[in-house]
Each structure stands twice: as C-alpha cells, then as structure tokens.
Amino acid sequence: MLKALFGGVSSVGRQTVDGIWRIGYATRFFFAILLHSGTAFSRFGLTIREIYFSGVLSLIIILVSGLFVGMVLGLQGYETLQTYGSEEALGILVALSLVRELGPVVAALLFASRAGSAITAEIGLMKATEQLTAMEMMAVDPIARVVAPRFWAGVLSMPLLAAMFSAVGIMGGYLVGVVLIGVDEGSFWSQMQAKVDFNLDIMNGIIKSVVFGIAVTAIALFEGYDAPPTAEGVSGATTRTVVTSSLAILALDFMLTAFMFRGLN
C-alpha cells in the first residue's frame, strides 16, 4: 500500500516536471517563431494564403454566431431592463457587452475551435508524413516557411473577426430590440454613442482580441508541431489545442479586464 502511495505521489511529481519542461519547450518554440518571422513578411503571399484559411473560412461561423448572440442579448436585456423602466438603455447594454467582452472572447473561442484545431491537425499531419523533415533536408527552415506565416495570419485575423462579431451582434440587438420589440430607435443609438467610449471600450476590446489571437495561434502551432506522429497523437493534439486555448482565453480575459477597467470605480 505504501508502495502504491509512493508511486502515486512520484507520478504527480513526474507529470509536474514534464509539464514544466513542456512549457519551457513551448516558450522556446514561441520565440523561435518570432525570430524566424522575416519570411512571413518578406514573402507576404504565404501569410495571405494563411489568412484565407484561418480568417476567411471562419467568417461564416463568426458572423452567424455574432448575430445570434446579439439577438439573445437584445431579448434578455430587454426583459431585465424593463423591470427597472430603463428599456432605452438596451443599446448601451448590447454594445458594451459585445465590444468589451463577448466580441473578443466568443470570437476567440470560435476561432480556436475552427481555425486553431485545423492548424494543429495540418501541422501534426505534416510532421507525421515527414513533410517537415523533408523540408529541412531541402535546406528550407520549416518554422520560417510553414509555422511563422500561420502565426501572423492568426494574429492579424483575430481583431478583424472580433470587430465583425461585435458589429453583427449590435445589428442583431437592434433587430430584436428596435425592429421586433419596439424600443425607441433614437435612444437605442444615442444612448449607446454617449456611453461607449472609443478608447476605453473599443480599443481595449481590440487589444484583447490581439492578445487572444497570439495565444490561440501559438498554442495551436505548438501542439501540432509537438504532436506524436500517429493518428491518436494528432487527434489528441487537436483536442488539447481547443481545451488549452479556451482556458487561456478565459484566464487572459480576466487578467486583461482587471487591468484595463480598474480605474472605473
């Protein structure tokens, strides 16, 4: 029995050491991406191609989700505000919720599931079928040619997707609140304009989405690059990408929100 306990504790220790080693490896990988990013910009065509696969192909899910989230905000917001007689504040509610939080966070979560997992699977498969080794043997650095363009494509796409999510969401809120329910159109927009500050709310939302973009893309690339070259290996890596990215997004969101909005009260 003592032996089982000993075994259990030492396996926790081993996993912790492995985990820390892996984080160190991931950090070195991240800096390697940054160092080798020259090609991603000098041959911008590579990055553009990846923006298509990560950004453009995520548009549908982002726009549809944004619309629905905005509409739900309009509905739920109206229900609650009505009890305090403040229905004209619906515009403020919808806009601030989206621009400050839901836009960056939900768009990032969707991006992680759709584009992040696709990137992990692609890189993992390229590694498993020895394409990355072949590239190295042909004297082309795979990090510069394959990994870095995907990284910058993710970082560039993310704020655009978050902005589109928020914009479509506000439209959805308008659709439900003003068009369907009948909140006053003038107060919807004017109160929103009075309360939503460009620097404080919108810019902060954009900064958040850039940070999320960096985190999600880096995690996706690392998991793919580090995946064991088997079928189970790649599928496990894709799952890990989505889970780790989601946790990272939520944790970073808390930290950024606490930092950005601390002066308000």
């Binding site: 498969l125 394409q131 072949a134 590239m135 043997m137 004297a139 082309v140």
Partner: protein
Amino acid sequence: MTNDTLVNIENVSFGYNARPVLKGIDLSARRGQVVAIMGSSGCGKTTLLRLIGGQLKPNQGIVRVAGEVVSELDQASLYRLRRKMGMLFQFGALFTDMSVFDNVAFQLREHTELPEDVIRDLVLMKLNAVGLRGAAGLMPSELSGGMARRVALARAIALDPMLIMYDEPFAGLDPISLGVTGNLIRRLTDTLGLTSLVVTHDVQESLKIVDYVYFVSEGVVEAQGTAEEIRSSGLPFVHQFVHGEPDGPVPFHYPALPYAEDLKLEVARA
C-alpha cells in the same frame, strides 16, 4: 580514402540515453556507386541516414560528406551542404497542399533566382526522367504510392545533388513499380554520376542494382561486400536474411519462459 569517396563514416556510435543504436560503424561510398544498407527493422539504418544528413550528431566518430565533417558545420554551411543532397522518404513526403509541379519546383523556387519559364522547363525535364511529365498538374492525393515516390524522386534531383539517400524505396510496391523504381535508381546514378545510398530490406530488388552492400545488425556492420559476395555468403545472419529463412541467428521466438511452464503443465516424471 580516395578522392572520389563521397561519404565516409568512421567508427560512428550513436544512442539515445541508455539505449545504444549504432556501435562503431565504418562505411564509405564512392561517386557513381549504388550502396545498399540492409538489416532487419529497427537496427539503426534510418538513424545512419539522419547522421549523414546532419539531423543527428554522433556520440562518437566522424561523419564526412564530400570531405566536410557534418557535425561541425554551422547552420548556414549545413544548409548549403543539404542543397547538394537529396533525400527520398519512405512514403514520398510530398507537400500535400501543392501540385506535383509545385512540389518539384519547390527547391528551385526557394534556393535559386531562376525565372519561371526556366523553372518550368527544368521541372518538366526532371519529371520526364522519372516518366511522370504528364502528371504535372495532379495533386499528391491523386497519385498512387509508386507514382508519389517517383515524384518525390524527381523533387530530390531538382537541384542536381551529388548524393541521394533512399529510405526504404521498395516498401509496399507492386512488382511493376518495384522494377521501375530499381531501374530508375540505377539509371539516375549512372547518368547523373551521383552516389546513391539505399536503405532497404528488400533483398531481391536491391541485389539486382547495387554495387556494394553493408549489412547492419545489432548496431555493427556484420558483413559487407559486392552483390555477388553477399548472395553467396556463408555467414549465418547474411544467409538467413538473403534467403528469407524464418529461424536462424535472428530467432523466431521472442524470449519467453519454457513452453511447458507457461502453459502450467506438470513436467512428467520419467
């Protein structure tokens, strides 16, 4: 060591932590030669190729390619050397997001400043050498295994390397493709004057085309010689390998308890 020895491996040892893979290998290959490295699975053949390509550093010994010690090269020189080496991976390792044409053109576009029409001519020439000029527009997913490997070969010779390494080129091919591949390896080596290192365990096909054979077992070179010498060798390991005998120095049974004990039978008393 004569001047036209291209690859020279002297007393090289390599292992991962506790597990030694290669223990003191000596190997050399000259220009215009097709050299086969044979042995059972997991004996370190692919590791040898990685050592030559500079992906791994030997724990002991020296690996020399064209006179340069591979493990002592810096990043830039290593990349320069790799441009003169071609490697054919077991399943082709073609870039799946590009067409056949773009795959072969890859090295030309990355490492040279040649204009597109010159590249086009070169790519078609290389594809013609492997008989796949008509397949230039296909995607790798549309190719059969044998065709994929031939395209990979065309890609490997794109920059006219002086050394080509083949990792199991004959694995899993039908008889016709086997013949085609073997023929291609020999012809390319002769016409382009390069050196081919073929890692394989397909005895019949390789003995038809090679000049020299190294037999690797348990991390050392067990035997070496010309194709004829190997075929008629009396060494038990070589004999078992060449004639495909199920039992011999490489045993049939994985080490285990005596059969009767395992089945929990009582040993009958006399």
